[in-house]
Every structure is written in C-alpha cells, then in structure tokens.
Symmetry: C2
DNA sequence: CGCAGGATGTTTGTATACAAACAATCTGCC
DNA sequence: GGCAGATTGTTTGTATACAAACATCCTGCG
C-alpha cells in the first residue's frame, strides 16, 4: 500500500484562514475607529492600563518588535496622543507617556473596541466565541 | 442599577489574538520554507492548481488586493518562479504563468506546507483542530 | 454604432512587520 | 573597579497591506 499524500488545499490551511479573518477584522476596526489603527489602539490601551512604559517594554506588551514599535509610537506622537521623554535613571530609555488627548481618546473608545470584537465574532454564538478564543489562546 | 461596563482586556480581544497567532505561524513558515513568503506560496499554489491566471484573478484567488498582488507577482517573477505575459484577447490583462522552476518548487514544497499547518496547530488535538478550522471558516 | 459603466493594472502614500547591524548604555560578576 | 554581555533604541532593507486616483480597455445596452 503506497502512502496516499494528503492534498494541499489552500483554503484549509490555518495560515490562509488566519489571514482572511484578520483582513475582515481590520476592515471592521477601521469602520468603527477610523482615526487610529488597531496597532495604535493596542499601544494606547497598554499605556492607559499600565502607565508610562519604555518604548521597548511597550512593544513587548503590545507584541511588536523594536523597529515596528518605533514607527507606531512616532505616529502616535505626531497625532498628539503620546509623548516620548528621556528616562533620567537610564539614558538608553525613552519613556512613552499618554497625553491627555490620548487618555481621553482611549477612555472614550473602549466601548467601540468591544463592539469591534463583537462584530468580528458576530457569526458565532456565545459558546462558539468562547471556544474560539480558548483555542486561539493556546496557539500563542 | 447602573450598567456595569465590561472591562477592556486587550489579551481577550480577537484581533489581538489573531495577530499573535499569525506572528507565530509566520515564524514557523519561514523556518520551514525560507526561500519564499507565505503570500508567495499561496500564489504559487493557486497557479499550480488552477493554471495561468490574470494578475487580478490571482489576487482574488489568493485574497490580496490589486496593489498588493502586483508586488508579490513582481517578486515571484524576479525569482524566476513566474512569468507575466500580455493577454492576446484582452489588452488590459497580464496573464501570470508558473515557470518550470515555479512548478517544481511548489510540487516539492506541498509537504512542507502541510507540515507548517500541523506545526502551527500542534498545541491542539485532532478534534480541537477541526473545531478551530470550522470556527475560523465562519469568520471569513 | 456609440457610449456609460465596469474591469484591469499601475502609481503614490501610509502603516505594519521583521531581520540584521549598530551605537550607546547599563549590570552583574570577578 | 572594570569589563563581558545584555538592553535599549535606531537605521536600513525587504515584504505585505490597502486606499485613492488614474489610464486603458472591454462589454452591454439603448
């Protein structure tokens, strides 16, 4: 008996599905929150809930590498939502701090953030949503 | 009774989880197939299984918009895996065709593609994998 | 036949991503 | 005290993504 090779069906590969679901999610995101991107939102959330962070720590907290976070923080600064200041105790560090505008924006948009997640998961019922989240969590 | 507002926990939002799982997946991909990217792989799969396609149709088949596909196809062409030729019947169209090298590469790499999916889903058992795929499919 | 509307591809501009190489700095350990 | 090795941030180069504006071409319909 020769091994029957499993056929490669692109639509059945996790990576492809992840990409398509992410595309749909990001479209929903920008409909609800057009002013900033999902990445920028994640950074604001972390800063709002954890207080000022070094750029590197912020990147780790929001799952972006150093080069990526630099760009995101730069754009947030340009938008006036965040400030970068030298750390007095450690000359390597740049401390990123939420401005009042940044804090106001994130506080006002938490509800929209939840709506975005709900809209993304809308095709699933409550139990299925919980299941999906649990499974995704384990693939981290 | 005032409405208790649901707290916004970044780690519990689908978008954030999707991004992290995708990051892990792409890292696994490039470990197994360093020569080309996941996007490029998806294009080669479509061309191999569906034959020559116009650049636009290829983009749709692989879930990329026109601007994105142009770049991906350009890089595949530079790698000698694909050819672009004017369509004689429709002057607007560019027909994208797999070269022999492209066909050989994709045929040789299907097995790795399956291994990549398996490695990504490795933390889950068989039933859980099927569940995840079914749920993701419905979020497309 | 002729034109309006759709399809196709390109270009530009912006925003992630990440590898790799660097400079500056800090920290622990001898 | 001082240096090896880790941390932090930057820069460069490559590869997605996608919106928007265009030029070109095709197709159907009156």
């Amino acid at each position: 008996m020769s091994e029957e090779t499993e056929p490669y069906v692109l639509d059945d590969q996790v990576g492809y599905l992840l990409r398509r679901v992410t595309q749909r999610h990001l479209a929903i995101f920008s409909q609800h929150i057009p002013e900033i991107t999902a990445m920028q939102f994640a950074c604001l959330v972390r800063l709002h809930q954890q207080g000022p962070l070094s750029q590197n720590h912020l990147g780790r907290a929001a799952s972006m590498d150093a080069a990526t976070v630099k760009g995101v923080v730069g754009r947030l600064e340009k938008l006036g939502l965040v400030t970068r200041a030298a750390d007095p105790g450690d000359k390597r560090r740049l401390t990123v701090t939420l401005t009042e505008a940044g804090a106001a924006l994130i506080a006002a948009r938490y509800a929209d953030g939840l709506r975005i997640s709900a809209a993304t998961l809308e095709p699933l019922n409550r139990a299925e949503r919980a299941q999906l989240m649990a499974l995704l969590n384990r693939l981290t």
